[in-house]
């Protein structure tokens, strides 16, 4: 890994790490006491209100990808890149009506996998599980990596140790409290993130000479302010569709739709999207000022934190450290919980042990959370690429799920075979585009192929689905409830 000059002393970094780590684990234990039943552990008792709903939506979507990848987009793709990243909020806006529909059609549902299995059958379900679990892993890996990179760049803490600590903390408190702990900590994390971003934003605006920044970019990096930069033009809709694909298919968002009270989901997703929208623009803008300020960037994914911390000094670096730790933790915990639910419910219970007791399911779920954390740690150890290359590798896969999911929720005549082929063809052709044209085209091409496939099958294969088949009875475990 390339050496990058640190801003905070390692001692301060360790102290911050210890305070935040202990705080989240303690809160996880505290909220974990509420998670008595399996439904409580997986879905927070299906009783999440609007305030917690908005907070968890926003905090989960403000990941390392918002605070670290949005600036990377601006640094690589210029002004269009900055706005392209903010289009990911459309995923939340469009999921708002879907959340309402999901709650209506599946009042006892548990996972996005449940929907695909009941709506399209086993073959499509298996392909969907591969896509969803693969995506969950790439997201987890990108955030584990981000934790290591962040702590190394800000405080000089070795990458391996920083990455290990953040994964350990998140695994521990998710293990204690399930979705109760995840949503509770998300609320506090979202407050810290918002305050931190406002502080950093004001600090940067007061420290930067906009005219000088523009002149410098014009002479040294002219393509960053050129509206005809081809890669950034391609990235606009690619990123928008990537965001939609991530949210439409991922159990992170479905589990929240199931967990929120009736009629809360739609409002929570709309408000969460609105709160999220300006953050990548603010985070992206500061990346464009980096070279004007003479800050050397060794890895594009670190440009945001480095510029903010350099401009605002040690205090700013502490704020950035806390904001990024919270944004990482709020997403890692959500992913651990949602992916563990998907594997426990869809693979273990549905495929191997339909009569598993509640106690048994809790044990399996805990084992999966620890296993996921360990696997992520193992893959993160050799830093495999930048955050963008790791995360966007899953782009074509998630892009292929948009139309099968949306049509499956609204069209009675959406074909099961069509959904299967849409995912297979979309993923395959999208991956070819990833390697042949660039990561900034892959999701777009995948979503287009998938849409076309769904439409062709709808026109040629006649199906009439009965919505009542989606209302599966509650989990009947050997242990009761």
């Amino acid at each position: 890994m390339s050496h990058q000059s640190a801003i905070l002393s390692a001692n301060i970094g360790w102290i911050l790490l210890a305070i935040l780590g202990v705080l989240w684990i303690w809160l996880g234990r505290y909220w974990g006491k509420k998670a008595q039943s399996m439904e409580g552990f997986m879905l927070a008792g299906r009783n999440v209100g609007l305030a917690l709903g908005v907070a968890t939506t926003m905090a989960t979507w403000i990941t390392s990808n918002t605070t670290m990848l949005a600036p990377q987009f601006a640094l690589q793709l210029g002004v269009w890149g900055m706005f392209a990243y903010s289009t990911a909020s459309f995923g939340l806006f469009l999921f708002a009506p879907l959340a309402k529909r999901i709650r209506q059609l599946m009042p006892n549902g548990y996972t996005s996998g449940d929907f695909i299995r009941l709506r399209y059958g086993k073959a499509t379900w298996l392909v969907f599980l591969v896509i969803s679990i693969f995506y969950g892993f790439t997201w987890l890996i990108s955030m584990g990596m981000a934790g290591g990179i962040l702590m190394n760049a800000l405080a000089g803490i070795p990458y391996e140790i920083g990455m290990t600590v953040i994964l350990f903390v998140c695994v521990t408190y998710t293990l204690f409290g399930g979705l109760f702990a995840v949503i509770g900590t998300d609320f506090i994390q979202s407050v810290i993130i918002l305050i931190g971003i406002v502080v950093v934003g004001f600090g940067i605006v007061h420290s930067i000479d906009f005219g000088k920044t523009y002149t410098h970019l014009e002479s040294e990096s002219p393509m960053l302010i050129n509206v005809l930069l081809p890669a950034s033009i391609m990235a606009i809709f690619n990123n928008l569709l990537f965001g939609i694909g991530e949210i439409f298919h991922s159990n992170v968002w479905w589990s929240r739709a199931f967990a929120m009270r009736k009629n809360v989901g739609q409002k929570a997703y709309l408000l969460g999207g609105l709160f999220w929208l300006p953050i990548p623009v603010a985070a992206g803008f500061i990346a464009l000022t980096g070279s004007t300020l003479g800050i050397n960037i060794t890895s594009p994914d670190m440009v945001g934190p480095l510029v903010a911390a350099n401009v605002l000094g040690s205090v700013g670096a502490i704020v950035v450290f806390a904001v990024l730790f919270c944004s990482l933790a709020s997403s890692i915990d959500s992913l651990l919980a949602a992916t563990s639910d998907l594997i426990t419910e869809d693979i273990y219970r549905k495929l191997f042990n339909p009569k598993a007791s509640e106690q048994n399911l809790r044990k399996v779920s805990a084992f999966i959370i620890v296993g996921l954390g360990f696997l992520t740690w193992l893959i993160c150890l050799p830093r495999v690429g930048t955050l963008a290359t790791v995360l966007f590798f899953a782009g074509p896969l998630v892009g292929s799920t948009i139309w099968p999911i949306a049509t499956g929720l609204y069209w009675k005549n959406a074909s099961a075979k069509g959904a299967l082929w849409a995912m297979l063809l979309g993923s395959g052709i999208g991956l070819i585009a990833y390697f042949q044209l660039g990561w900034y085209t892959a999701t777009l091409i995948s979503a287009a192929v998938s849409m076309l496939t769904v439409l062709i099958f709808r026109a040629t294969v006649k199906e009439d689905f009965n919505w009542k088949h989606l209302d599966e009875p509650k989990i009947q475990t050997a242990g009761g409830n």
Partner: protein, 172 residues
């Protein structure tokens, strides 16, 4: 941070230019430039991680370099990274000076860019690395606008699907 560097002022070059092999020196100028600061010290010569020329279709590149682990005063060594568009590095500018061992450069228009790096310690400079060439060739605008149009169609269709579907579901 960005500073221009005039190589004709370097002592080694001026000394050589005074000699009678002027013609030969002019012919070998690019090679001489690369070894112009042959170290009168033990500073290691850094090498780029990319041993071959790099092609970029988005105008950005990450350059990383390293020196042997057994080099003396490793922790104190700083590096100077230069960028130029000409083969001989006559119009080179220093784009980074400091201890980092990588630099990310973006926003480059179409063209060939050459980079080289050298170690510095206590005011002394080591030898230049073997240069690396980055060829920037942006994707065609026709392809970009084709994909922009395709993206607009897919997004519009998706938004319509959700809005119409939601309305119908509400009526039902």
């Amino acid at each position: 941070m960005v500073e221009n560097c005039n190589y004709e002022q370097e002592g080694t070059i001026i000394f050589l230019l005074k000699k009678k092999y002027f013609g030969m020196i002019v012919l070998l100028y690019p090679i001489i430039l690369q070894s112009a600061s042959l170290p009168g010290n033990d500073l290691p010569v850094p090498e780029f991680a990319a041993s071959e020329d790099v092609v970029s279709t988005a105008g950005h590149v990450r350059l990383s370099w390293d020196v042997p682990d057994n080099a003396e005063n490793l922790a104190a060594i700083e590096f100077e990274l230069q960028q130029t568009s000409d083969v001989a590095f006559q119009k080179a500018k220093t784009i980074y000076s400091g201890p980092d061992r990588a630099s990310f450069i973006s926003g480059l228009p179409n063209g060939d860019y050459r980079f080289r790096v050298r170690a510095r310690l206590d005011g002394e400079a080591g030898g230049w690395s073997t240069p690396v060439t980055v060829q920037v060739q942006h994707q065609s605008l026709r392809l970009a606008f084709t994909l922009l149009g395709l993206g607009a169609i897919v997004v519009l269709a998706t938004v319509t699907l959700v809005i119409v579907g939601n309305r119908k579901a509400n009526i039902e």
